[in-house]
Symmetry: C2
Subunit: 277 residues, 2 copies
Amino acid sequence: MEQVSTNRSYGGTQGVYTHDSRETGTPMTFSVFVPDHAPGVKLPVLWYLSGLTCTHANVTEKGEYRAACAKHGIIFVAPDTSPRGDAVPDAEGYDFGKGAGFYVDAAEEPWATNYRMRSYIETELPALVASEFPMADMTRQGITGHSMGGHGALTIALRNPGRFRSVSAFAPIVSPLNCPWGDKALTGYIGADRTNWRQYDACALIEDGARLPDLLVDQGGADNFLAEQLRTELLIKACETAGQPATIRIQPGYDHSYYFISSYMTEHVAWHAKALI
Amino acid sequence: MEQVSTNRSYGGTQGVYTHDSRETGTPMTFSVFVPDHAPGVKLPVLWYLSGLTCTHANVTEKGEYRAACAKHGIIFVAPDTSPRGDAVPDAEGYDFGKGAGFYVDAAEEPWATNYRMRSYIETELPALVASEFPMADMTRQGITGHSMGGHGALTIALRNPGRFRSVSAFAPIVSPLNCPWGDKALTGYIGADRTNWRQYDACALIEDGARLPDLLVDQGGADNFLAEQLRTELLIKACETAGQPATIRIQPGYDHSYYFISSYMTEHVAWHAKALI
């Protein structure tokens, strides 16, 4: 792992790092905020998975998480959303290929070699963080994300029971089986057999018996993607039907942007802190 | 004035607006955050002047001011740093021409026609804000800024006694008479006669008898520009000599970036709120 940059911020260190990923076969960049702490003290880790078109930089610059993470003593890790580089296959459109890894391990060609964001986020990057950041307490992890990254957070937490003490999401894609973004991405990466998609669909995973410790979701009421792509109502129904505890809030007037995410970031970090601290 | 965009954020409205400026002879873009408020209530206005290379967008995206402004009920206005457009003369380098208006009214050609950021910020834009934002209480104004914008905030406040109830700055250029950025900018815009520069030099204005109501400055101790360009020590000395009340803090380890600015933004907004609310 190489350090790209560090900046002092909010009584902590905001770093950006790069490493050669075994899973994606490419260099991968991610950011880590580490609040100041006494020597030997270990801090819990909050993962933030970003949405379509984003890199680590969007939330790092616009997410407004550092004040709350410094207050609670939480490490904040923000990975990229896909493999990168000229050698990586890409597609037209913002919703497939680079910047749109959808947190799956692709089975279809030409994507299968590099597009392994599921294994990268579930396995490779946590091991790297654990080894390179000795103050990270990997027994206390939370996960959140936005849009495609909310989908990633929910599905990764549902598939890994016990891994995350706390789970939340901002405007998540709740059911790739039931929206155009999901249809395009999973057809392209996984193939046409929709039974294989259920492991990448938060609502289907809940229907199939997976559970979260609890769940906080904020969703902008004026989000242009709500009706067709995000479909929060399907998650509400899945949680109600399954008895999955969840607090799912529609925030009137808010859209899909970081102006929305940052407005509720402090509350989400506090929600995670209750379970992590 | 035309609205470019609005986004709901932190229980308020973050807007971006454009208008044809009489002073610069160009369209000018600026952002305004208005916290929600009861009908008929008027809110104080905090001006934020940005640094070299910036537009309104840098602080709007990275400044992390909305939480504090919403809490205290303060309107936050962020102008651009120069005239823009293909018809506007420019120069090589990031520190002169577009993005580097230095909050002066240029006297030298070819700059004098468009580079009128002093009059734009002191006169034209406040009148526009007053007329377009009827909830803005122009009898309660504060001003702050970063780097070149800290210079702008200090000099505009010093030249307009009674206009601003509160003044602060992040890593300001405190004396253009005594740094390479100032030397280049004022020679280019104002001309070689350095006596004309004193109206654009915070330390010189204080030496010449101008006073601020009070002053808060935060300066990163690891700021690469501190020793040669910013020279905080000259402001400390000018304030001490003149008996100008000031709290000037060196923050160890912090650099010149928005990672620094955002870390102290909440304290600055609270400082302004004490005088404005």
